[in-house]
């Protein structure tokens, strides 16, 4: 392994330590990641996690951090712990100086005149932004295949999906193209990609991380959160981006808990951990179920009490979600009208009215999945159907919240597999929207109730050798519990594996760093 290959495999926490100790510079770290992106991201068999690489600005921020550290004194002492640690940002989150596409043709080439609050917080912490990551168009999908710019590939098997919608952020972190990334989670878009790529992803309590500057899909469900390779790294990033923001009217006024301390404490002795009866067993792949049971056993050995809880209304969650989410999305996406942003397409024939320009623009600018959800949402909100669809779905939301309340009366934290299966093949479910939707069955309840969830690697499935995700859920505003339990489970599992799960991932063919190992020579073997 070259020196750079060692560097890019370090956790964000380890990089931060090395940077603070002066053992490595931020320019060296940032350049190592940019080299890695150049080596594995492009080409027909590249990971394609990035839609835009922010080379110049990232290196400038890195150099600034290095200069501050070199000069010493108060400014160096006041640097944020993660200063100089690079990060990738999902392309649903707006950034000054880089394009934001949301994975859609309708925003191709668009530049935001403002930064999202989370991006501003990254800049305040002086974290170099490596670029923008790929996603299903407007975050609508579970495979990143609905991106207008082509799919991202799973680093574990390039013919498989990296999950979605945040497949770009998860794959970037799994392929060592970034130590950290930001994602957004409306029905599992941070956690399910984490599960299928063997990485960590957290959906914080609704409203605890500002959504100002995240292009909205479903406003009552959307949440920005961290993506990383370790539980502690997610806690460190969560601490940077979390906390009240007056720009987001749904932002919680609560002060942020000490999540990093929770991750470092890592103790489950005497904790009650609840298995959700409805979120495992039938419909879940055998290898997923096996890894899940192993994790339960480890937690038990660490002193946790495992109890079983029942959430009988979770069976309605998927259906209710596919009414609420499209309804809110159809309304949020009405702003893409060919007037204020991006694309404008003129109809081929007269009359040239604004109505017809909108129709032609949205027809050309939106992909199939976005159109499906807009039509479905428009239907669910129509006069005569509103009560039966949107109204009923909102009542189901109450039932799901009650289920969670009852479950959390019996357990401190709940546990389930993150996704029912491991990564499926690219194209396998593309023409079957309903099969695609079923991937989110275990992650959706958390969004419906606003509670926080974390997915961490639980090992590899016996049948296909692909990563399995374990999901932890906590009551609203108790995100710290996720980090506390997650850190324990992670260290027990890693002790069993003899190191991080990603050490078992196949080496990716590189196109620049090691020219001898190009795709052609790989295929010739």
């Amino acid at each position: 392994m070259t020196e750079n290959n060692v560097l890019i495999r370090l956790s964000a926490a380890a990089l931060a330590r090395k940077l603070a100790a002066g053992e490595v510079t931020s320019v060296e770290v940032t350049q190592a990641y940019l080299d890695r992106i150049a080596a594995v991201d492009g080409g027909p068999r590249g990971v394609h996690a990035f839609l835009h690489v922010n080379t110049e600005e990232a290196l400038a921020v890195a150099a600034e951090v290095d200069a501050i550290r070199a000069a010493g004194g108060a400014p160096a002492a006041e640097l944020h712990e993660l200063a100089g640690v690079p990060i990738a940002v999902k392309d649903l989150i707006v950034t000054i100086g880089q394009p934001t596409t949301a994975g859609s043709k309708i925003l191709e080439g668009w530049h935001s005149p403002y930064d999202a609050t989370v991006v501003k917080r990254l800049r305040d912490a002086k974290m170099p932004i490596l670029g923008k990551t790929n996603l299903d168009e407007f975050a609508m999908g579970s495979s990143t295949e609905h991106s207008a710019y082509g799919p991202t590939r799973n680093p574990w098997d390039l013919d498989r999906i990296p999950g979605g919608s945040g497949g770009g952020s998860a794959a970037a972190v799994a392929a060592f193209e970034a130590p950290l990334a930001l994602g957004t989670d409306t029905g599992g878009s941070i956690r399910q990609p984490g599960a299928v790529t063997g990485t960590v992803g957290v959906k914080p309590t609704y409203g605890s991380v500002s959504r100002y500057g995240a292009i909205a899909m479903a406003s009552s469900l959307d949440q920005i959160g961290p993506v990383s390779r370790t539980v502690l790294d997610s806690a460190l990033l969560h601490q940077v981006i979390g906390g009240h923001d007056p720009h987001d009217s749904t932002s919680l006024p609560d002060p942020l808990e000490d999540l990093v301390a929770a991750a470092r404490l890592g103790n489950v002795d005497g904790m009650k951990i609840g298995i959700i009866k409805e979120l495992h067993g039938e419909g879940y792949q055998a290898g997923v179920e096996n890894r899940f049971n192993e994790s339960l056993e480890l937690l038990k050995q660490a002193g946790a009490e495992i109890v079983e809880v029942s959430c009988p209304n979770f069976k309605y969650a998927l259906g209710a979600y596919y009414l609420i989410m499209p309804s809110e999305a159809s309304s949020n996406l009405a702003k893409f009208d060919g007037v204020r942003y991006g694309l404008r397409v003129l109809p081929k024939d007269a009359p040239l009215t604004i109505e017809r320009v909108m129709g032609a623009t949205r027809a050309a600018g939106f992909g199939d999945e976005v159109k499906r959800r807009i039509i479905l949402g428009t239907y669910a909100l129509s006069a005569g159907y509103y009560d039966a669809y949107y109204g009923s779905a909102q009542k189901v939301r109450t039932l799901i919240q009650r289920d969670f309340e009852a479950a959390f009366a019996q357990a401190d934290v709940l546990i389930s597999p993150t996704a029912p299966t491991t990564a499926f093949k690219l194209g396998e479910k593309l023409n079957d929207p309903l099969a695609m939707y079923l991937n989110d069955v275990a992650t959706i309840p958390a969004n419906m109730a606003g509670v926080p969830g974390l997915s961490l690697p639980g090992g590899l499935a016996d049948e296909d050798g692909l990563p399995v995700g374990i999901q932890l859920l906590a009551p609203a505003r108790q995100d710290a519990r996720l980090y506390r339990v997650g850190a324990v489970l992670e260290s027990l599992l890693e002790a069993q594996w003899g190191g991080p799960l990603l050490d078992k991932a196949p080496e990716l063919a590189t196109s620049v760093v090691e020219p001898a190992e190009t795709l052609e020579t790989q295929e010739a073997k």
Partner: protein, 98 residues
């Protein structure tokens, strides 16, 4: 609950301002019918006594001081527009000719 058919989809597409070809309407009607069928159980899940939840975490409205904060310049606001004229968004005819 009623099933969704091709005419419904055509009507909804007009409401949502998305032009659709005949082939697209056929395909979308089939796909949406399957999805609508699968979410049917939702309407039977909760009784009349269950209140609706529109927002997952209860919040009350708060007011801020009525002072001017940061605003975008018109250049910034127009920077992403497909067409602009003298500091305004330029659009095709808003009204039909007839």
């Amino acid at each position: 609950m009623a099933a969704i058919n091709r005419d419904d989809v055509a009507h909804l597409a007009r409401l949502a301002h998305i032009e659709m070809s005949a082939e697209e309407l056929d395909r979308m009607a089939g796909e949406l019918a399957v999805i609508v069928e699968s979410v049917k159980s939702v309407s039977e899940a909760a009784g009349d006594d269950v209140p609706a939840t529109s927002h997952p975490i209860p919040l009350t409205n708060v007011f801020r001081e009525d002072v001017v904060g940061h605003t975008f310049t018109s250049e910034q606001s127009l920077s992403g527009a497909p067409d602009a004229y003298e500091g305004r968004f330029k659009v095709p005819a808003i009204l039909d000719e007839d």
